[in-house]
């Protein structure tokens, strides 16, 4: 049948493609700009040791962000119990050191995954609001740790081989001089990328994030899909929590504080919008890198006696988050892709 060619505009399609490219490139452009700024501000910036410190400082955040991006991708925003999971996993791992090093790691990870499973059941299967539920869960976890140890911190026993191994964990190097944490981040990021891009689960997660109802009416097991996203996020949080505990040499309820917000900022900065179903892990890794560089560049600023302290940094990070979400929404609305 001959029909006249569709007269509807090609513009939305072009804008759409442009948006996809920009939101991914955008963060790498930002990284480039930060490099230039760093170079201008301080001679220290482009030294190997400074960049290595920067890279290391951000690996744990990277591991957390890679996991939580599954939740953002599924349009369930974020897991606010991330700090709680990190603290609990670390504390449990320290506690379990008396049963050996391997048991300790398994117990820490297992605890985190168990919390993720509960989150997944509550949000995925019982459709509770993810923000409210995970906020409450975080409070419960933090309270439990304080209650169990009467607010005290617990220390790995340096006298045992397991304790020494645990304290060495964060600083371990493998394959010559590659830090173990960097390797773990690389593995997590590559695995997450493959899961999102190449698996049936990833394709169904994208559909679920784009439109929950449509996914349900396509025969996707949406409840399980969302639940798995929460378990993945809890798993990476647990891993990061154990590593952070090893770094701090102490298990305590406050470990992991702020990681939830920093992670979601990195995710959104990397082009994964809160509206779900958009963005890539490549972008998220870029977001994490940008946050690290920004932090580093800000700490290198020295104008006379003036330095940017911890609190203004935090405020700047918050403002950045608001700015990105605003720009994203504006872009999507302008290009007519805002269907939500």
């Amino acid at each position: 049948m001959s029909r006249p060619p569709d007269i509807r505009s090609a513009a939305p399609a072009v804008a759409g493609r442009l948006y996809n490219v920009l939101s991914l490139l955008g963060v790498y452009v930002l990284i480039g700009a930060l490099f230039a700024a760093g170079r201008l501000i301080s001679d220290e910036f482009l030294t190997t040791s400074n960049l290595l410190i920067t890279l290391r400082s951000v690996t744990l955040l990277g591991i957390v962000a890679v996991g939580v991006s599954f939740i953002t991708y599924s349009r369930h925003y974020v897991d606010l119990s991330i700090p709680g999971i990190m603290a609990l996993s670390g504390t449990v791992a320290v506690w379990a050191l008396k049963y050996g090093f391997a048991t300790s790691l398994a117990a820490g990870l297992g605890t985190g995954l168990a919390v993720g499973l509960i989150n997944g059941l509550a949000v995925g299967y019982y459709r509770l609001n993810p923000i409210v539920w995970t906020l409450a869960m975080g409070s419960v976890l933090s309270g439990l740790i304080r209650w169990a140890y009467a607010g005290r911190q617990i220390y790995p026993d340096k006298a045992t081989p397991a304790g020494r191994a645990f304290l060495q964990l964060y600083h371990a190097e493998v394959l010559g001089a590659v830090p173990l944490v960097v390797l773990l981040l690389a593995i997590a990021a590559i695995a997450a990328h493959l899961v999102m891009q190449k698996t049936g689960f990833g394709a169904q997660l994208k559909l679920t994030g784009s439109s929950y109802e449509v996914a349900r009416m396509t025969g996707v097991n949406v409840r399980r899909t969302v639940a798995i996203a929460f378990v993945i996020s809890a798993g990476t949080s647990a891993l990061a929590g154990i590593l952070l505990t090893s770094f701090n040499k102490v298990g305590a309820f406050y470990i992991g504080k702020g990681y939830d917000f920093a992670a979601i900022t990195a995710v959104v900065l990397g082009g994964m919008t809160l509206a779900g179903g958009r963005g890539t892990i490549v972008g998220v890794v870029g977001g994490v890198t940008a946050i690290a560089l920004m932090d580093n560049v800000m700490s290198l600023v020295r104008i006379g006696d003036f330095v940017i302290g911890e609190y203004p940094k935090q405020a700047i990070q918050g403002a950045l988050f608001i700015a990105i979400v605003g720009v994203h929404s504006y872009w999507l609305r302008k290009s007519g892709m805002d269907d939500a």
């Binding site: 049948m1 029909r3 006249p4 060619p5 569709d6 007269i7 509807r8 505009s9 090609a10 513009a11 939305p12 399609a13 072009v14 759409g16 190449k198 698996t199 049936g200 689960f201 990833g202 394709a203 169904q204 994208k206 559909l207 784009s210 439109s211 109802e213 449509v214 996914a215 349900r216 009416m217 396509t218 025969g219 996707v220 097991n221 179903g277 958009r278 007519g336 892709m337 269907d339």
Partner: protein
């Protein structure tokens, strides 16, 4: 005789989107006290023109005159102030708040900074009585009234600002036949009061019933404005598509085969009761009835989307126990939803991804999904359904309504279903897309598959079905064979009367 006044006039109005003219030099005039219908296929420019009148664009060209005075409509507020009221296709009432607050949204009466409840109720009642809803409790939450009443409340809300021009976009799409008739009575009442009404619709019988004049648009341009007494539906269709659609419904010749799917004594309390029916291989079973008769609910239960209270479903002689829609799809069932935007298509994903979305499990091995395995079926369906533009990389949200509906059909055809249940497969689509979808349905049946067709479009139901089962108020009340099926016999049975209703 009253002097004919022009209430709204467009002179050479154009609106350009990057790369295309969505409205191209359109001139038309709408008189006070007339219902002026605006028709055309999807993408013909109806919505664009309506949006210009509603003040959605600040960059249209040409002139708009209200009561012979040029006006600028660069924002919705300017349009409202000029006396233009819009009634959108999608209802815009806020569910949890009261009908009265919905009607007076944005202009709630206040006294000393507090809500003046008495004045609010009085004004809401006045607006409601304008649309014959004087009996409705203005304090009832908007979510508790029926879709029909909600549609009328929308009109009441628009009338409350005392507009001189009322624009209605597909106001009948969620209404049953009787409700449409009641709506038309109200529209005629408004016309007598001197309101100029712009009525946008796909539904030609409705246009012929309610409009005084009709303007046909095609590809952004005006084809003609005609007095309704001078045109027939066939002529309008010809003007809309630019070619004659000689026969929308080809005669089907195949005879149904063995019994494919049986539904036995199926009940979902509160929705439908003790429904038994079957569909054979190679057969199109129509499911007729008024809106709210329980047809969609029955379809959802057959597919395991909603739970059933009693009864069973038999496919190929074997009882099915479906605990999820996923299981139904695996068993060879498919349900094309009536709600394309909310439940059918992920609008922000690509066309190809949408078409293949139900095949993800089938195209995955060891968890690894290979979309490439769907390339063949994708190409075949895009071609067979004439989806324009044929670019699988396009975001579905950027396609026209008719092409979106084809994509939705393609998504389910891709699963190669044994039984396909179609719920309003052509609601709101243009004539061209309709023809393509009808042909695809007939071909599916000819290939030996079973089709259950739920449709409020009577010519479509009668033209495509081999047999029509009629539902009324949750019960199966009768069945009409192909030979006896006419629009009249179906409509009569749906209202519980006539020869085909079992006593």
């Amino acid at each position: 005789m009253r002097e004919i006044e022009t209430a709204l006039e467009l002179r050479g109005v154009s609106k350009r989107y990057p790369g295309t003219l969505a409205a191209d030099d359109v001139s038309l005039s709408v008189r006070s006290g007339e219902v002026h219908a605006l028709i055309g296929e999807n993408g013909a420019g109806k919505s664009t023109l309506m949006k210009i009148i509603a003040g959605s664009f600040d960059d249209y060209t040409g002139e708009v005159l209200l009561n012979d005075r040029p006006v600028t409509l660069h924002s919705p507020a300017m349009a409202k102030a000029a006396g233009i009221a819009m009634i959108q296709q999608e209802l815009s009432l806020a569910g949890p708040i009261s009908v009265a607050e919905n009607i007076l949204a944005g202009r709630l009466p206040s006294r000393r900074g507090l809500l003046d409840r008495k004045a609010m109720l009085a004004e809401a009642s006045r607006c409601l009585s304008l649309v014959g809803l004087g009996h409705l409790d203005p304090l009832a939450p908007a979510e508790e009234i029926s879709p029909h009443e909600a549609q009328l409340v929308e009109i009441a809300k628009a009338l409350g600002r005392d507009p001189c021009i009322l624009v209605m976009d597909e106001p009948t799409s969620s209404l049953s036949r009787e409700e449409v008739d009641r709506l038309f009575e109200i529209i005629r009442g408004l016309r007598r009061r001197g309101l100029a009404i712009v009525y946008i619709s796909h539904h030609l019988p409705e246009v012929l019933a309610v409009a005084d004049r009709v303007t046909v648009l095609r590809d952004g341009r005006k084809v003609a404005t005609k007095d309704i007494r001078d045109v027939t539906a066939a002529q309008l269709v010809e003007m809309m598509v630019g070619r004659s659609v000689s026969d929308l419904y080809a005669e089907r010749t195949t005879t149904p085969g063995a019994r494919k799917l049986s539904v036995e004594h199926l009940t979902r309390r509160g929705f439908f009761h003790d429904v038994s029916l079957h569909v054979c291989a190679g057969e199109v079973l129509g499911l007729g009835g008024l809106s709210g008769a329980g047809r969609s609910e029955l379809a959802r239960c057959i597919c395991g989307i909603d739970p059933v209270d009693a009864g069973r479903i038999v496919l190929d002689g074997r009882p099915l126990s479906l605990r999820s829609y996923r299981a139904a799809v695996r068993a060879g069932l498919a349900y094309l939803t009536e709600d394309r935007k909310a439940q059918g298509l992920a609008l922000r994903l690509r066309m190809g991804g949408n078409i293949l979305s139900a095949l993800i499990p089938r195209h995955s091995r060891w968890g690894v999904y290979s979309p490439g395995r769907g390339r063949g079926v994708l190409k075949r369906l895009v071609g067979a359904l004439d989806i324009t533009p044929p670019q699988p990389g396009r975001l579905v949200g950027t396609l026209s309504g008719g092409n979106q509906q084809k994509v939705l059909l393609a998504k389910w055809l891709a699963t190669d279903p044994q039984v396909l249940i179609l719920d309003e497969p052509t609601r709101g689509v243009d004539v061209g897309a309709k023809v393509v979808i009808h042909r695809a349905i007939a071909e599916l049946a000819d290939a030996g598959k079973s089709v259950i067709l739920i449709s409020s479009d009577l010519p479509e139901l009668v033209g495509l079905s081999d047999r029509i089962a009629i539902m009324r108020q949750g019960h199966l009340v009768g069945e009409i064979g192909r030979a006896d099926a006419t629009e009249a016999s179906v409509l009569l049975a749906a209202n519980g009367e006539g020869d085909f209703v079992r006593s």
